[in-house]
């Protein structure tokens, strides 16, 4: 029997569309809100109502990664983590997600099912529900297999103010773990490079790590996940938005050896390579140690490190003290981003 694939009729709105929704989408992503299949969903605040008095935050992102499945993750896991992490970076508790799917005619249903199962597992781990959805099918060649858009709604508890513009001189800069894993895992997979220790994407939902950090200190001024453009670009964004300088110790920045090796081979500097399960936190100096300990006690922060400090000098600029002890400016990513890694 030939493999079952997505047909244009699956997007027609007719019988096949309904079958696809009930047999696959609701099977994996279903919950009382989504199952109602209304044109728009009512969102009860339930347990989160004690957060009222805080602020709603809202974000959206589209996912076009190639290949769909890579070591350490897949496009579905990425679509949940990316949006959950954007909410979490602002100190929000992620509540609800929407998910839009654009499917290419001919996509094996088995692949779609794998992606949906992965989304379900990741959403459950992150404690979020998918409460609105949409599916379109386009002709072969109009998209590459499967694109996903997710939008997310979260609530920031009263009193939490985390912003890329809030870093202050004297603050310490914390990083939750090793950099470069996601971008290089995908590039080596795409180029068919084999390493003795295979590279794994770090793709992970960071909201529970964020909660653990907030429990350790409320004096976390800034948080950002260094995705496209990598650590160097994210630090530069914060330095510019907060109008402060930064001094980073290259030696303090954790980089896994296979990432370094693959980076050397492909000519990619891990400081500029995307991460999908890491965060930068800029913390009041006196609280840095307790935040660091809270991070290291969490599964997604075991390799956390203090990598530098915020300065009043050279506002808007990030200076790297290299492993050789020399100092140089660490600028934004200047060249091209790697294509379609998220």
């Amino acid at each position: 029997m030939s493999e079952q694939v997505v047909l244009l009729a699956h997007g027609s709105g007719g019988l096949l569309s309904h079958e696809l929704v009930s047999s696959l989408f609701l099977k994996y992503l279903g919950n009382p809100i989504l199952n109602a299949l209304e044109d728009a969903s009512n969102l009860p605040l339930g347990d989160a109502s004690e957060l009222l008095g805080g602020q709603l935050v809202f974000t959206t992102d589209s996912y076009v990664v190639k290949p769909l499945f890579f070591p350490g993750g897949d496009i579905g896991k990425l679509a949940i983590c990316g949006t959950v992490n954007d909410l979490a970076m602002r100190g929000a508790v992620p509540l609800y997600l929407s998910a839009g799917f654009i499917l290419e005619e001919g996509l094996p249903l088995r692949d779609l099912e794998r992606v949906l199962a992965s989304m379900a597992t990741t959403a459950e781990a992150a404690g979020v529900h998918i409460v609105a959805g949409d599916t379109k099918v386009v002709e072969r060649g109009s998209v590459d297999k499967l694109f996903i858009n997710t939008a997310g709604l979260g609530l920031v508890p009263p009193g939490v103010r985390i912003s890329a513009a809030a870093a202050r001189p004297g603050d310490l800069i914390l990083l939750s773990g090793a950099i470069g894993d996601h971008g290089l895992a995908i590039m080596t997979q795409r180029e068919g490079l084999r390493f003795q220790t295979p590279l794994q994407s770090d793709c992970a939902p960071l909201n529970s790590l964020v909660s653990a950090m907030l429990a350790a200190s409320r004096r976390i001024h800034t948080r950002r996940d260094p995705t496209r453009g990598g650590l160097a670009s994210a630090l530069n964004e914060i330095a510019t938005q907060s109008a402060v300088g930064m001094e980073i110790e290259e030696q303090a920045v954790p980089i896994h050896e296979p990432v370094r090796a693959a980076g050397d081979l492909l000519g990619l500097d891990p400081f500029y390579v995307a991460n999908e399960g890491k965060l930068i936190a800029i913390v009041e100096r006196e609280d840095a140690q307790s935040v660091l300990e809270a991070m290291r006690a969490h599964p997604y922060g075991q390799e956390a490190a203090i990598i530098g400090q915020v300065t009043a000098e050279h506002p808007g600029r990030v200076v790297l003290r290299t492993i050789l002890g020399t100092r140089r400016l660490m600028d934004m990513l200047a060249g091209e981003q790697l294509p379609r890694i998220c």
């Binding site: 030696q251 000519g267 290299t322 492993i323 050789l324 020399t326 140089r328």
Partner: protein, 365 residues
């Protein structure tokens, strides 16, 4: 300790830097031939650490950068031919020619594929027998052997749709050309590690013998470079010689197998270099025995006019490649010309001096 850590040890690096600073009592200007060296020197802040007495000047060792406007325009014209797939290393796709780049040609419908090796291009030809696949042969003695191997393999497989447009260049003639021109005073040369792994360190013997300056062949890790610089500084005032500071990769005679592949498929020809002009015996073209694989013969495509070369737009890549100016001296640098919108190839390539200065060379003040 990991293999790479040995060559990035901060304590050893600081010791070497101190030693170099103490020994370099007079100003010394060293040209690093290779763009890979330029990149590492900027990445690790070695340039600033050695200043002011040791000054590093970047050289012509970036294959994409030295490709002439005419050659780039010809590659784009090839890509526009119906039924032709052009296979190229990634950097080349973004280099602007007189009117557009391969990347823009691709967006307009041309078949341009990025490959990491000529053997990938050969595989394309095998999979798509109805299309003519042209590999853009860019690079020095390091890449020419693999392109030669791809042609030999194509012959073994009996492929009739695989071609090479050879723009391969040889490094020693470029070095000679810069020294002969005498525009920039050089006290020593940091020799290219990968190229020398192929051609052998004896190939640089003409530097001490004919020009009276020393050459240290270097690897690409920070400590490799510092050790090579230290030996060049130590040689000042004594008899010049070639030092092999990259003995884990380089021998006196080089890689005989790779040399044999090159000699089998290619013959030495004159070549047109950006910045250096037409240099005799500085390029590689296909031997008559392999004419069937020569894209220039197969397509009979007239060389397009190059109406507005980059230099006419104010680009100083040519002078950067000769070590006459440093990238920030170009008035386009970082303003009209950035890696996102490059005007000249030195801002495009990962080995280009302008790209390295732009990414890593920002002033600390």
């Amino acid at each position: 300790m990991k293999y790479t850590d040995e060559f990035r040890d901060p304590v050893a690096a600081q010791r070497l830097i101190q030693e170099i600073r103490v020994r370099a009592t007079r100003p010394i200007r060293i040209m690093e031939f290779c763009g890979g060296h330029t990149h590492a020197i900027m990445r690790y802040g070695i340039r600033q650490a050695l200043a002011p007495n040791v000054r590093m000047a970047s050289g012509p060792g970036c294959p994409v950068c030295v490709t002439s406007d005419g050659d780039i325009d010809y590659c784009i014209a090839l890509a526009r031919l119906p039924g032709v797939t052009v296979a190229t290393f990634g950097d080349m796709a973004r280099v602007p020619g007189s009117r557009s780049s391969l990347q823009e040609a691709r967006a307009a419908g041309a078949e341009v594929r990025i490959v990491y090796s000529a053997l990938d291009a050969l595989e394309l030809a095998r999979r798509e027998p109805q299309r003519a696949v042209v590999m853009l042969g860019i690079g020095f003695e390091t890449t020419a052997p693999t392109v030669a191997a791809s042609i030999l393999r194509a012959r073994e497989l009996g492929l009739k749709n695989y071609y090479v447009y050879s723009m391969h260049k040889l490094t020693p003639p470029a070095m000679r050309s810069i020294l002969d021109a005498g525009e920039v005073h050089l006290d020593a040369i940091l020799g290219p590690g990968h190229v020398t792994a192929i051609i052998g360190w004896r190939a640089w013997g003409f530097l001490p013998a004919e020009y009276g300056i020393p050459c240290a062949v270097s690897g690409f890790e920070p400590l490799d470079i510092l050790q090579a610089v230290r030996s060049l500084v130590a040689l000042q005032g004594s008899a010049p010689q070639v030092v092999n500071a990259y003995s884990r990769g380089v021998t006196a005679e080089g890689n005989r197998v790779a040399q044999g592949l090159m000699a089998e498929v290619f013959e030495v020809s004159s070549a047109n270099w950006r910045g250096l002009g037409e240099l005799p015996a500085s390029g590689l073209k296909l031997r008559p025995a392999y004419a069937a694989y020569d894209a220039q013969l197969a397509f009979d495509l007239p060389r397009p006019e190059s109406p507005e070369p980059a230099s006419q737009r104010g680009c100083r890549c040519g002078e950067v490649l000769r070590g006459v100016v440093e990238p920030p001296e170009c008035r386009l640098f970082g303003k009209a010309c950035t890696p996102a919108r490059p005007i000249g190839p030195c801002m495009v390539s990962a080995e280009g001096a302008c790209a390295a200065y732009y990414q890593y060379g920002g002033s600390l003040v």
